[in-house]
Amino acid sequence: MPALEVSAFVAAIDRGAIPLDLRSPVQYAAAHIACSVLLQFGRQDLGDRAELYLDKSDPYVLLMEPAPLGPVAEKLLAGAGYQVAGYLQGGLKSWSEAGLPVRTMATGTVQELQSKLAAGESVPLIDVREDFEFDWAHIDGAVNLPHGEIWERGAQLDHERPWYVICNDQVRSGAAAGMLERLGFRQLTLVLGGTAAWLEAGYPVIKAG
């Protein structure tokens, strides 16, 4: 259950470990390790949520901040049956200080999204909430691709398009965007505040039935 220095962390990735980023979607968007999967930390349900996306036959290495939560996250995931090779000592700072590249992801607010749509721009939008949530209320033109089906169905979408990704806040959309990035999508925008913020702003939605 080790804290891994950057070189050991990179070596584990080279041997096939998947980097799993447990920070917030906002932190992930600001800077993250290429092809890491994003799953916001949760003490009660981290293992349960991991099972929605992550195969227990793969090995993982973790990125968690602040530093004292590295071993906590590792213990939670190992307890849920995951093979965890360790966590990055010093967090993303040590990665950057080693001269290794980071990737960013665009973020946007519901206000920005609404003004684009109101101006008649074509905005490709993926809503990753469950289908019953989508039916209850969604933004006109959104495609429903539930977050638990990204690995299976994500490749059906055109990865060249500049997709906006939305959920109810930004936790599931962040996880979905991370998976889509791993599938080769490069022009993603994470909508912060999600459908809840959209509704709170009083913007129009489509209701099924």
Partner: protein, 259 residues
């Protein structure tokens, strides 16, 4: 807003986690070493919040704080009443009466309430998303549910050479009557201790929250109209001194690093 009382039962200590989900910021008030910094970090991490403020209502004499460690782990500003400046050996950002700290839409107004200690403050919290009226008050060890803070824990503070227990009781009376009981009835009270804590007297309730109106009417200590009879009442109802309090206080003041 996000608000959670995080208590440690065996000592009857309470700490508080406040946050704004929109701004993704949080403050922790009186973090407890017995709870550990991981607990507070997890509260923030699982909500995607960054802890930006760590606030002490005073330097504690009955339990160890993990405020400085939490501030170091997060980069949060570490706040302590400015009156603690000559008492402690470490650096902090001083709070003055009337200061307003912000956590997104949540504002935290500092009310200087010397008495239990010279650096005691109460924190009046307003959720601007709900109302411009204050919603609740974190009272530290100044006002408890059913009781008031004790004025006789003088270790370290003697370096100021200003207060004795009787003077402290007078200051406490003034702080309570003039600064706290003048707040609106609806303001809720969340204290630094409840139940069997040794930081108050024998009338401290096991209930961990109250309101200004209820305490104004039913808190026995607050039924006294002058500082002298208030002081006599409080001193008569004191419990034994908290175990190891002098050592704990010294450590919280930075005078001694290890217990």
């Amino acid at each position: 807003m996000i608000f959670k009382q995080i208590s440690y039962g065996p000592d009857g200590c309470a700490s508080y986690f406040l946050g704004c989900a929109k701004a993704k910021e949080a403050a922790v008030v009186d973090p407890l070493a017995s709870v550990g910094i991981e607990e507070y970090l997890m509260e923030a991490a699982e909500r995607g919040l960054a802890i930006t403020q760590v606030i002490e209502t005073h330097t504690h004499a009955d339990h160890l704080s993990c405020g400085r460690a939490l501030s170091e782990a997060t980069g949060a500003t570490y706040w302590l009443g400015e009156a603690a400046r000559p008492l402690v050996t470490y650096d902090f950002t001083g709070m003055h009466d009337g200061d307003e700290l912000r956590v997104g839409k949540v504002s935290i107004r500092v009310i200087a309430t010397p008495g239990h200690t010279p650096d005691s403050v109460c924190l009046l919290v307003t959720d601007q998303a709900r109302s411009a009226e204050p919603w609740f008050l974190l009272t530290g060890d100044t006002l408890f549910v059913g009781d008031v803070g004790r004025p006789d824990l003088l270790v370290g503070d003697r370096r100021l050479d200003v207060y004795d227990a009787k003077e402290r009781a007078g200051l406490l009376f003034q702080s309570l009557k003039e600064r706290l009981l003048t707040l609106p009835d609806h303001v809720e009270i969340y204290p630094g201790h409840f139940g069997g804590s040794a930081c108050g007297g024998v009338n401290m309730s096991g209930k961990a929250a109250s309101t200004i109106a209820f305490e104004r009417r039913f808190n026995l200590a607050l039924q006294h109209d002058d500082a002298e009879s208030f002081g006599q009442f409080v001193v008569a109802g004191l419990k034994p001194l908290p175990k190891n309090y002098a050592q704990i206080k010294r450590q919280n003041l930075g005078l001694k690093e290890d217990a």
